[in-house]
Symmetry: C2
Subunit: 167 residues, 2 copies
Amino acid sequence: MTSAEHGSRPNDRPQLRHYLGQAVDLATENVGAGGGPFGAVVVTPDGRVHAGVNRVTRDNDPTAHAEVVAIRAAAAATGNFDLTGSVLYASCEPCPMCLASALWARIGHVYFAADRHGAAAAGFDDALFYDYFSGAAPELMPVTRDDIPTSDVPFQTWRAFDSRKEY
Amino acid sequence: MTSAEHGSRPNDRPQLRHYLGQAVDLATENVGAGGGPFGAVVVTPDGRVHAGVNRVTRDNDPTAHAEVVAIRAAAAATGNFDLTGSVLYASCEPCPMCLASALWARIGHVYFAADRHGAAAAGFDDALFYDYFSGAAPELMPVTRDDIPTSDVPFQTWRAFDSRKEY
């Protein structure tokens, strides 16, 4: 990272480190609260900070990673599923689910503190997931198409629906 | 798909087509309800069917794809974030977020009806997202590490926490 990259607001280096520090502190606090050691914040263009912590085991929600929780909180708080111009700060390197969630939310930049190796040393090893997305472990979860007669009906219905909300 | 693959329960071909048809019908119905043309069901090993529809615009939740909604519903209903032995049926080819969510949920197999080209023809083009994960479009969302002094504290705290719930 060059200083030029962070030489101007909102992503100057002290501000970056402030928000990353918040994400890391949330992660640490979440351990005592019975959650996983992961935290994240989304900073929306209005300057508001939307926090998330890992709630997988507490909520029985396999998608409740800190980054996803923070993204959902930011979208709910701003009343918009499109978070263009927002920045995601995560205590640890985001997994493919969290990166894809950030893409769908139109997050502009992701910063993280610990990397996947630090997570693996604590027993959180996403290596198989990265392998899956690189095509090295397809047997982990087979994905099969079966083109049934009604496959295209939802899209035909969508195209014919005048008051559809495109996104 | 060979008949051998679907020659035995729970994934014999008529049953597969039954659940895929349910996912497609949910997708079609969701258009009239103001949602996107996507539906999904998760069938858990106890035979229960857990439905999901796209709720992105209705809930202002960029992560509320049908597959994610169905996975969250199944985990909540069974009281377990681990859905080992479950099958996900989706009206359309799942995006990387949904596939990664299914991986985290330990879904055993994913079936889908329409493919990404059908979705693109209806205005839902995930091509950029697939490009991103293949490494062809990194500029879409830069991901930057900044290793701050507290980066490893959450994991140190986790390792020292006797009543941690591993997963």
